[in-house]
């Protein structure tokens, strides 16, 4: 029996009378892209915050590669192998794209208390970072400050930083957000190549991307998962149609 | 230690608290509504004291001096807001700290230029001279009781202003979402100038009423400013209720601490040592209290909920 890389069991979070997360159970298996879709207000952000560690759950467990990470800080979870991207790009704006990815490489190496070697002459940081930038297609923009990159390029940089962490699981929060059709197609093609490196929990609104990429889809409505299955299962599920897809399927 | 001594010190503590409340209310309002750290607040306290002392000396009337202190402090505040503070709202706290630090230098030296380096003196007005009897054999100065009364009135007035008037409503709205009220058509710039002037007037009032108890001199506002910052941090920045409770807490703790700590320490060491160490400990006490409160409630006792 293959163990899931990420296992969430009966997660509950309430804000006063509102149960934003109402007993969510889902898992992420190795080598898969598991998409999480749902209408606005379904509680996707709240769920992401809890998985990543920026919000504490009321009850329920979160396991990464079998280890219970529910009580760990966000930084510790990242070190344990949970990588993520942000819905609104969150970068070090003054640093170049290269320095941003180098920071991620440095974080993966666990060496942030090094005081004496200048990073800009450290090939053990520069080379891996450039290689990743090459992969995502940003190598000719490497020296530009992140604040000067275009929106699409910043989304790519987010992905690059997540890749640099060599995480066990990736949580991608609406990577297509704000991308035009061209950019979305390219990014979709790129994400397709990633699933063997690290399974992806993909939170998305862009249905084309979801149907193209997902091995499994879970549908989140009012804090609960109302359906989980393959693309075809979900397309045909009447509850999902009513709640969410409407005329899309 | 007698009851009357304890009672006297308790009243002193309340009086100090009231004076700190006048300072802190303005400070917290300015930070709450405009997001501005204002180190020059202590200078407006000084301006109020000097205005009162100067006008009282000129006219012989403390009451005219009091009116002058309110007017001068409010005017000084409004001018400073129009010329300098306006440009700082969008800046980070570091720039605000620096610019208002520069204002302290300007105000202090400017005042020294006008009035010289010697302190001015204010007399307690005849109406408020004398003392009342306390339980036990002691008496307590009428003037200090009057200060407590003024503080209570101001607290009531602020409560009514903030809670019951349209200006107050705009102030409260401004505290929770600055951008929004602009979009709703409230004249932000005038509102900010008004709030700043109001805060400054309160500081000036504090300076004026303390004038008869201590001397009026350049730099008198600085120790009070620091205490006011401790108060608003304890109370929750932006909360007037927090400023009141924080001010009373700080005033009473500081006063009673200075009384009790040396006495407490005489249990463990000889009186002269106890006096010294007790004095030091008493000075440090409110900072220790602040550190303890912040470690449990990092945003103070009554932080206002922000958007």
């Amino acid at each position: 029996m293959v163990e899931p890389v990420l296992q969430i069991d009966n997660l509950v979070k309430s804000f006063g009378a509102l149960r934003a997360t109402d007993g969510i159970t889902l898992d992420l298996m190795p080598g898969e892209i598991h998409a999480l879709i749902g209408p606005n207000g379904a509680g996707k952000s709240t769920l992401i915050h809890q998985i990543c560690g920026t919000l504490k759950q009321d009850s329920g467990t979160i396991r990464l590669a079998g280890e219970d990470i529910g009580a760990l800080s966000a930084a510790t979870r990242a070190r344990r192998g949970l990588g993520r991207t942000f819905q609104v790009s969150s970068l070090a704006p003054e640093f170049s794209a290269l320095r941003n990815v180098m920071l991620a490489v440095q974080a993966r190496q666990g060496s942030s208390f090094g005081f004496f070697r200048p990073v800009m002459r450290d090939r053990s940081l520069i080379d891996p970072a450039m290689a990743i930038l090459e992969r995502v297609g940003l190598s000719d923009r490497a020296r530009l400050p992140a604040a000067e990159l275009s929106h699409g390029e910043r989304r790519q940089l987010e992905i690059a930083m997540a890749l640099a962490l060599q995480s066990k699981a990736l949580l991608l929060d609406e990577p297509m957000a704000g991308m035009g059709p061209e950019g979305s197609k390219r990014l979709t093609g790129f994400l397709d190549t990633l699933r063997q490196e690290a399974p992806i929990l993909l939170v998305e609104h862009d249905m084309d991307a979801v149907f193209a990429l997902a091995d499994r889809i879970s549908v989140l409505v009012y804090g609960r998962i109302i359906a989980t299955g393959t693309v075809e299962d979900i397309r045909r599920d009447p509850a999902v149609r009513t709640a969410y897809l409407g005329d899309h399927a | 230690m007698t009851i009357s001594l304890a009672l006297e010190q308790l009243l002193n503590g309340i009086q100090l608290g009231v004076m700190l409340f006048l300072m802190s209310a303005g400070l917290t309002l300015i930070f709450g509504v405009m997001g501005l750290i204002n180190l020059a607040h202590g200078s407006l306290y000084m301006v109020g004291a000097f205005a009162c002392a100067a006008v009282a000396a000129l006219t012989g009337s403390f009451w005219l001096g009091l009116v002058a202190s309110l007017a001068c402090a409010a005017a000084a505040g409004a001018i400073v807001e129009l010329l300098v503070i306006r440009r700082l709202y969008d800046r980070d706290h570091l720039d605000q700290v620096l610019a208002t630090f520069a204002l302290i230098l300007i105000f202090s030296e400017g005042t020294r230029w006008l009035f010289g380096s010697f302190p001015l003196y204010l007399d307690i007005p005849p109406l408020l001279q004398g003392a009342v009897a306390l339980p036990g054999d002691a008496t307590y100065p009428v003037y200090r009781l009057a200060i407590i009364a003024v503080g209570a009135l101001v607290a009531l007035g602020l409560y009514l202003l903030i809670g019951k008037t349209r200006l107050g409503m705009r102030i409260r709205a401004g505290e929770s979402d600055r951008e929004m009220i602009g979009a709703l058509g409230v004249d932000i710039r005038t509102l900010y100038t008004l709030v700043f002037a109001l805060g400054s007037a309160l500081a000036g009032l504090a300076g004026a009423i303390v004038g008869p108890l201590q001397s009026v001199q350049v730099g008198m506002g600085e120790p009070v400013l620091i205490l006011a910052f401790v108060v608003i941090v304890i109370g929750g920045i932006g909360s007037i209720k927090g400023a009141l409770i924080g001010a009373l807490l700080v005033g009473i703790t500081d006063t009673l601490g200075r009384l009790l700590l040396p006495q407490l320490l005489t249990l463990f060491m000889d009186p002269s040592q106890a006096g010294m160490i007790g004095g030091a400990a008493a000075s440090m006490l409110i900072y220790v209290v602040m550190a303890v409160i912040l470690s449990v409630k990092p945003r103070g006792l009554f932080p206002p909920a922000h958007a």
């Binding site: 930084a75 640093f95 005081f115 930083m161 | 570091l94 602040m290």
Partner: protein, 325 residues
Amino acid sequence: MVLTRENAVNLTLAVLLLAVPLIASALGQPFYVTLATRIAILALAALGLNLALGLGGMVSFGHAAFFGIGGYAAGILASHALSGEPLLFDLPGTAQMPIIWLVAVIAAGLVALAIGALSLRTSGVYFIMITLAFAQMVYYFAISWPAYGGEDGLSIAVRNQFPGTNTMRPLNFFFVAYAVLLAGIGLFALIRASRFGAALAATRQNEIRVAALGIDPYRIRLAGFVISAMITALAGALYADLNRFVSPSMLAWHMSGELIVLIILGGTGRLFGPLAGAALYVAFEFALGGLTERWQFFLGLILLGVVLFARGGLLGLLAGKTKHG
């Protein structure tokens, strides 16, 4: 090293700071040597703060505490060396600067660890206020300790010694201070370019991103805060020796404000910003002070002008925008 505009300005500043006392000494004007020494020491103090503030984004309004701890370390050790009475645990006092510096740096580091551990749990204006409060605590503690002068401060009868040179000669002491400053600048540059520096700068820019990468922002900031305190304390020890007097005003919040002023005047986060700022400040004080007793009024106006209109400080004006790369 590439000769960028900033590097050229930096080099000029370093050379000028060396040249002025050399010339002054040759002309028999020791006053200017002392002035230059004062610039060098204040620059070092501000450099320390710049590590926390400019690089790490921590607006500490309590660095006077560390400046003062350094000063008192020098004063206390010197007075025990003079009187022959042992300090704690039968350890003697000393008049040797290197040992004094070590003590100053360690003492400040420990205090900063405690203060930082608590303060860094807060942020924004609360952090500013709590660092101020802790510095006030240290101030009140110091002025109520009569064994070491209390409110009157502590004299250092004979300037402490540095092996191999007679520190009583103003020029020699200047060289010591200058060398320490250069070492400090070198250390700052090294740290800034290192992995730790990258993590610290990133934490200033976006702490959520840093945490998402697996770096703990709290620990990075704490380390930065402690190192910064140690550098400022070293400056404090030198300052006490310069004046042969430890004044409690070294611990006053005005001093904390002045240190921030020095950084802003010179340019926040710039390598030579603290030096430029210290030079400007001392020059203003001297030039304006010679003209009028009300010089602080004009200093205030100039400061206001800088904050409102010359945001990058002197180095911003001279050397243009920083390249981060």
